[in-house]
Amino acid sequence: MADPASDPSRFDIAVLGAGPAGVGAAVTAAWAGARVLVIDEAPQTGGQVYRALPEGITLAPGVRSLEAAEGARQRAELEASGAQLVTDHRVWMVSEGFRIEALGPQGPAKWQADRLIAATGTHERVVPFPGWTLPGVLGLAATTILMKSQRMAPGRRVLVAGCGPLLAYVAAGLGKIGAQVVGVADLAGPADWARALPRMLARPDLMARGAGWVAQIAARRVPYLPRHHVLRAEPGADDALRVTLARIGRDGRPGPERLIEADALAVGHGLVPGTELTRLLRAAHDWRPERGGWIARRDTEFRTSVPGLYLVGDGGGISGAAAAWHQGRVAGLAAARAAGIGDAQILSDRITLERRALRAAEGFGRAMSAIMAPRAPLYAAIPADTPVCRCEDVTRAEIEAAVAAGATEVNQVKHWTRCGMGPCQGRMCGEAAAEIVAAKQGASRVQAGLWTGRAPLRPVPLADLAGDFDYADIPIPKPAPL
């Protein structure tokens, strides 16, 4: 057997995801002396928050990137750290031990690591409404990607709707790109933002950035509609969208309707921690709506209930990019120390320092998370014939029919209706489906359950995984004598 120390596919610590949490973990673990591997499916590090412009698109001198300078700084720190970076690889399977299988441009790749730090981030929550499947309707986070990594807007006239800090960021960014923002419909009202304020003050720098976006929107005289929700989107004249909004009253009921025409609707209702990996490895999860939904249980060093598996960043509960970076740094140090790498006392001292920075950043992130927390009345308002599952076209009525027929939790609903069985693997419909299952039974989200984790972690073409496999290559043992 080969010496494990010289095997290029073996690592002390593997980090999945190269957003701020993953990069933070990789640089500190490598600093401690661990052999570290970082894998990301994107061509560049930064995750969604620090997405860079692709190769081939450049800005004129002096033009500021929409991506914060922090992304470039973290990229440089990773490069200098000695951690091995593998981009453009989509991890589709992780089994205990940890065996990691991915698919890259050159085909399948495999690695082994004693410890695994998951930094796989989130995806967007969009609560279904009639017309949410129309072309021209896209996520708020999707719009940030279009802005940051493509310098594009999804249309000339864009309506921005939903909740959370992305509203102001998207509205300000679209204005810079040259699109007209025809309105910002915010689910939250002044009272919600006032509640978030005390914890936001812990990070005046982030507060100032947000205030800058709001000032840019105000300067462009963009109509700001507090406590407004999208009731429906319909195809309008001349290929535009007709979007109907209403102010949500204190009782949760919509008031008089208001119609806005737009070329595109950018809409998002917060972020959902991605639990694919922790569910696949059967870690314990808790229902924490104020942190975004279901999240894997972690201790103060970000260890999950699975030995050797750590979880950092928004995938472990929404707390934002600044907190993700510090969480990653704590976990990287802790994982190295647990592996017996480096000086335990020095590592412990550094962990204490990182924790202090983490506390301030987490306060801000959690205030944002609370603003984006799922709202029950939105789910209650989904009409019966609205598709909840985009992949398989499963409506609310069909999900409720399955519950009426005896399904008590989401996995049964999936088997009976195909809701969540399509290529997005339930990432787009999961939250709404579970809310509907819970509401129909008068049960809690804990009783409604969560989808069993299954491979592949992300869809991959089977032909690519098989590579140039040939049936003739299968060794066939001699049949046993009769």
Binding site: E41, A42, P43, Q48, L53, P54, E55, G56, I57, T58, L59, A60, V63, R90, H123, E124, T133, L134, P135, G136, V137, L138, G139, A141, A142, T143, I145, L146, S149, Q150, R151, M152, A153, P154, G155, R156, K176, I177, G178, A179, P235, D239, A240, L241, D263, A264, P387, R390, E392, D393, G422, P423, C424, R427, M428, R458, P459, P461, A463, D464
Partner: protein, 94 residues
């Protein structure tokens, strides 16, 4: 259905490339995602829903929703995660 995406004109340098879209010669810019290039061409309907037949388009742009799946150079790829290159063959999947 729906209007074209808007490219920021000033201050951004892009290199034009031509590629084939459903058999026709079209153009976009090197490195931008195929999904963004199609959006900028005004092709926002990328498929039709299996049961209802309704038009669908790019939605998450981060490789999650699978709404922008296209056949690119003969293989099914997420258009939002595929950088555009000169001479690419892109086909929408109906």
């Amino acid at each position: 259905m729906a209007k074209a995406y808007l490219r920021e004109g000033k201050e951004v340098h892009r290199v034009p490339v031509s590629f084939r879209l459903n058999g026709a010669q079209v153009s976009g810019f090197a490195g931008e995602s195929v999904a963004a290039a199609l959006g900028a061409l005004g092709l926002t309907t990328l498929r039709h829903a299996p049961r209802s037949g309704d038009a669908r388009g790019a939605f998450c742009l981060m490789g999650v929703c699978q709404e922008c799946l296209c056949r690119i150079d003969g293989a099914r790829r997420e258009a939002c995660r595929t950088p555009l290159r000169a001479g690419m063959e892109v086909e929408t999947l109906g």
